[in-house]
């Protein structure tokens, strides 16, 4: 008989307890309180009786019960012939080679390749080797299956050849995702069905502190997997890098300054640097201690220049000393306002619209009275009937508009929607408030916060009740507290029409004087796609959104002059080098700047403890690990056998039966003793 948890057998020593109690029980039990012992002197106890064990049967039962419980807990099983361990396979090895921009430093890549080739050369015929590279993405150069498919003689040469074709790129370093991807390459068994001796990821990298470790937290590593770090060092040079920040987010700012983030590596020995646009333009000296990152204002770019190349000087390493800049274009947004009163009439709609769209340095909203080139249209209910058809055609072409029903007799309404009977009625009662609001819709989503979601202070003195025909496929975004719709989205051909059943003129509501009005109109513009913010600064590897949503192909040009034609709407993905990218579509032209991530300049070595803290099994591979795996497997087989037999159940059942017998017997003995005592 074998035991799965033999250390529980130590519990059998507990039988000493009953034996002891049976020896000393009588002496310990009899204690008689008495008022005073001042007249009494102790007499020596007669101990002959105590050496005898009382109630031998009871003692045997108790000991048997304890023994059975201890044996049960030790999980006994009857040993049969266990299968012999067959873990004689080779090693599974994944070479994970860093190809991020920081590996472009002088001599680093050659060192990394030499390390990788050393591992390839050491691989035995039973081993499986995979080669992967990583920067921002992970690429498989040689897979485990591919390695196994090659003949033993050709393996090293083929892998070396593929490795020679690789060179570092311009991307950032996503080390966390790379490690998890490499770990997923491991297969449970070798192709010949045996367990691998060990599973090793060899990480060949400069281990810079700027590497991202996302995705490592909580990753489940295989028990026998290990990560061996082969760090390739540079020449201990000082390095600083820069990155121009994206100015396109600042659409309402008043300044046109260009901000640049400069990073000085932790192991740098230099602190003074110079920023200049090259070509003898303006320059500025900056001071930045090692290990810090700070944002500076770049020197002024020459007037009338749309693009520039900002250079950093003063450090030893060149690859990250250039950052490209593209001046954002001024965004013209023509909005057609149709059927409205004069702009100086406070009782009309236009008077309030004009005050929303204040001038901004990079955005110019123009309120026009024509649909030509208009990005969005705001239409009053007083639109003349003859213009309605033109608006409907314009909408059908894929545009969006807001129709404000400030008049129950809106003739244009039926025409716009293609309805024969609009069935509009004027509301009755004092006023209405907004009731249900769909905060999931993009128009109201920015208000989906308890701080901003209170629309109950806006009184709508008048609104129009509209029975929405089911054929319209309308989407009610908000309704009034009398359950009539307040804001409805209706598809018109390819376009979409928003219908507001009340106006913001003072006669209809307090909406214009509410703080919700400007952001609400702004979200409507963004929803229509007419004011989507355009970014001009990107990092290597970032996709650049297509500037055209419809139309013919879009022509892209990389900094090296390579031309690529893409369909409208398809993002440009080949941002694999820093520089100015150009795009041409529908006789329009735009430039984008792509730069190296500033973190790539932080080339000081990363503390390896950081990886260990995130659960990465770092350490040299030993035969002991494989032996541990074999022991674990054997243990698993023993557990299965024990689970199948379940002898512990019988043991515990027997212990319970004996305990029951013991209770009955001890109860009977106690009663008998009490009876004898009463008689005497």
């Amino acid at each position: 008989m074998n035991f799965l948890s033999p250390w529980f057998l130590v519990g059998a020593l507990a039988i000493a307890g009953p034996i002891l109690f049976h020896l000393i029980r009588r002496a310990a039990r009899e204690r008689m309180p008495f008022s005073s012992l001042m007249f009494l002197h102790p007499t020596p106890p007669r101990t002959v009786r105590r050496r005898k064990i009382e109630h031998l049967l009871l003692l045997l039962l108790r000991c048997a019960c304890l023994l059975l419980i201890a044996t049960g807990f030790a999980r006994p099983f009857l040993s049969k012939s266990l299968p012999v361990d067959t873990a004689t396979g080779g090693q599974q090895l994944v070479l994970l080679v860093d190809t991020s921009a920081s590996m472009r430093r002088d001599g680093i890549w050659e060192k990394a390749r030499a390390v990788a080739e050393r591992y390839l050369a050491k691989a035995s015929p039973a081993d499986q080797v995979a080669v992967m590279t990583f920067d921002r993405q992970v690429r498989t150069v040689v897979s485990l299956a591919e390695w196994s498919s090659w003949t033993t003689d050709a393996r090293f040469a083929s892998a070396k050849q593929r490795l020679a074709a690789i060179s570092p790129g311009w991307m950032g370093t996503q080390l966390g995702f790379a490690l998890t991807a490499a770990a997923e390459q491991f297969q449970h068994n070798t192709p010949d069905g045996t367990l691998p001796k060990s599973r090793v990821v060899v990480l060949i990298s400069d281990m810079q502190e700027g590497a991202k470790l996302d995705g490592l937290q909580g990753h489940e590593w295989l028990k026998d997997a290990r990560v061996v770090i082969e760090r390739v060092d540079g020449n201990n040079e000082s390095n600083a890098g820069l990155e121009i920040l994206d100015p396109s987010g600042n659409t309402t700012g008043q300044e046109n300054d260009i901000h640049v983030r400069v990073v000085n590596a932790g192991n740098s020995r230099k602190e003074k640097f110079r920023l200049d646009w090259g070509g003898g333009g303006a320059s500025s000296d900056i001071y930045l201690p090692p290990g810090q990152s700070r944002t500076f204002t770049a020197p002024k770019l020459a007037a009338g220049t749309a693009t520039g190349k900002l250079q950093l000087s003063g450090d030893d390493i060149e690859f990250d000393n250039t950052s490209y800049f593209t001046a954002p274009e001024i965004e013209n947004i023509p909005i057609a306002c149709l059927g409205m009163e004069p702009s100086n009439d406070p009782a009309g709609l236009l008077y309030y619209l004009q005050r929303i769209f204040q001038p901004a340095p990079r955005r110019n909203v123009q309120l026009v009275d024509s649909l030509t080139n208009a990005a969005f249209a705001i239409i009053s209910g007083k639109l003349p009937q003859e213009q309605s058809s033109a608006v409907r055609d314009w909408l059908t072409g894929g545009k969006s508009a807001l129709l404000v029903l400030n008049n129950a007799q809106a003739q244009a309404f039926a025409t716009l929607l293609g309805l024969s009977d609009p069935s509009l009625t004027e509301s009755s009662g004092d006023f209405a408030l907004l009731g249900r609001i769909d905060f999931k819709h993009p128009i109201f989503a920015p208000f989906d916060d308890p701080r901003f979601s209170d629309f109950s202070r806006i009184h709508f003195w008048k609104h129009r009740r509209w029975e929405i025909p089911s054929a319209l496929q309308a989407n009610v975004l908000a309704d009034f507290d009398d359950h009539s719709p307040a804001l409805v989205e209706v598809p018109v051909g390819k376009g979409r029409l928003l219908i507001l059943t009340s106006g913001w003129n003072p006669e209809d509501s307090q909406l214009a004087v509410s703080s919700k009005f400007p952001p609400l109109i702004q979200t409507m513009l963004e929803w229509s796609g007419s004011t989507a913010p355009v970014h001009y600064q990107f990092r290597t590897g970032d996709p650049i959104p297509s500037p055209a949503t419809s139309g013919a192909t879009v022509q892209w040009q990389k900094p090296d002059g390579k031309q690529i034609a893409l369909a409208a709407g398809a993002p440009f993905l080949e941002t694999d080098m820093p520089g100015i990218y150009q795009v041409t579509w529908e006789n329009r032209h735009r430039q984008f700047a792509v730069n190296l991530p500033a973190d790539e300049s932080r080339i000081a070595p990363m503390p390896i403890d950081e990886l260990a803290r995130l659960g990465v099994p770092i350490g040299a591979v030993k035969e002991q690990a494989a032996a541990t795996a074999r022991v674990q497997k054997r243990e698993m087989q023993r557990t299965e056998l024990e689970n199948h037999q379940k002898l512990w159940r019988w043991m515990l059942a027997a212990a319970l039966a004996i305990a029951l017998l013991e209770i009955i017997l001890s109860g009977w003995l106690a009663r008998r003793a009490a009876t004898v005592e009463a008689i005497t």
Binding site: R31, M32, P33, S35, S36, L37, L40, P45
Partner: protein, 317 residues
């Protein structure tokens, strides 16, 4: 003179219409117990062979001109046409201190109630009895020190306070017999009656000195030693560990071996206390807790009556 310590003293005396102590102790209210004993005592007194005793001796004296007319007995004057002065009320106004042992050794019991229950009932009975006669009754309860003190008073509600103080059970650890006697000799300046109720299971080296102080102050002292029947007979059979209730000390004893020696020492101790009392002219009563309380009251009154005669004889001589 109390009966010597004999085995037959442990057996209840023949019942002569008195209340069985077990039945009496089953009543939880101490005041009710006391009332029951006193009233039963009065009703049983008609059949009592003992006549002529009284705590108070009434006396009429002829009125002399110039005396305060407040003490004239006008009823007697109406009957006899003579002026008599009632002197007894003033003379017999008694101040009594009850000293009750509340130490932990008083919690011992083998008859269903403790010595402390018995002693407190005795004290309550005496208090009720004396209060009914118009005497002022005070109380000391003590263990290793004085716990409660109520000065002797005869006023409405005082008896109730006294009962409440007696109802608090024993909580002391040790017994110090000298301390309450020292305190009572300090506090009781006027002559009066002092009733000392204890098991006297404590060293008695200082006892005679303090008793002598009380005697010198002119106090009349009645001493009650309350013992459990098993404390006298020590009727244990098997060897076992005996634990001192007060000190929690364990001693292994074979009762058969030590019984005779124990009884001899207890008797010697008791006789020492008794001798001290006899020398000082104090009344000593040994009470075993299975005896009716009325007998204790009877013994008490008899001893007082005897003492009154002795005093009067001494006064005449």
């Amino acid at each position: 003179m109390p009966a010597p310590l004999q085995a037959n003293s442990l057996r209840p005396r023949p019942q002569t219409g008195f209340v069985d102590p077990k039945v009496l102790m089953a009543i939880r209210n101490l005041e009710l117990r006391a009332r029951l004993v006193v009233e039963g005592f009065w009703s049983g007194l008609h059949r009592s062979p003992y006549h002529g005793f009284s705590v108070e001796f009434t006396e009429y004296r002829s009125y002399s001109p110039g005396e305060d007319t407040r003490y004239l007995d006008w009823r007697l004057f109406a009957r006899s046409d003579r002026y008599y002065v009632k002197k007894f009320e003033d003379e017999t106004n008694l101040r009594c201190h009850l000293l009750v042992d509340q130490s932990h050794s008083m919690t011992y019991q083998s008859v269903g109630y403790t010595k402390s229950d018995y002693a407190r009932t005795l004290a309550a009975t005496l208090a009720w009895f004396l209060n009914g006669q118009g005497d002022a009754v005070g109380l000391f309860t003590f263990d290793e020190r004085v716990r409660d003190y109520l000065p002797p008073r005869h006023r409405h509600g005082h008896l109730r306070q006294l009962m409440l103080a007696l109802e608090r059970g024993p909580d002391g650890k040790h017994t110090n017999l000298a301390e309450p006697l020292r305190r009572v000799s300090e506090l009781a300046r006027k002559r009066g009656l002092i009733v000392f109720i204890s098991d006297f299971l404590a060293p008695i080296e200082q006892l005679e000195h303090h008793f002598a102080l009380l005697a010198a102050a002119g106090h009349e002292v009645a001493v009650f030693q309350v013992l459990d029947p098993n404390e006298i007979a020590f009727e244990f059979e098997r060897p076992m560990l005996f634990q001192d209730i007060e000190s929690r000390r364990d001693v292994f004893l074979d009762p058969v071996t030590v019984r005779a020696e124990y009884q001899r020492k207890l008797k010697q101790h008791s006789e020492q206390v008794q001798g001290i009392c006899r020398n000082l002219g104090f009344a000593f009563h040994r009470l075993v807790t299975n005896q009716p309380l009325e007998l204790a009251l009877l013994d008490f009154l008899r001893s007082r009556s005897r003492r009154g005669k002795i005093i009067r004889r001494r006064a005449r001589s």
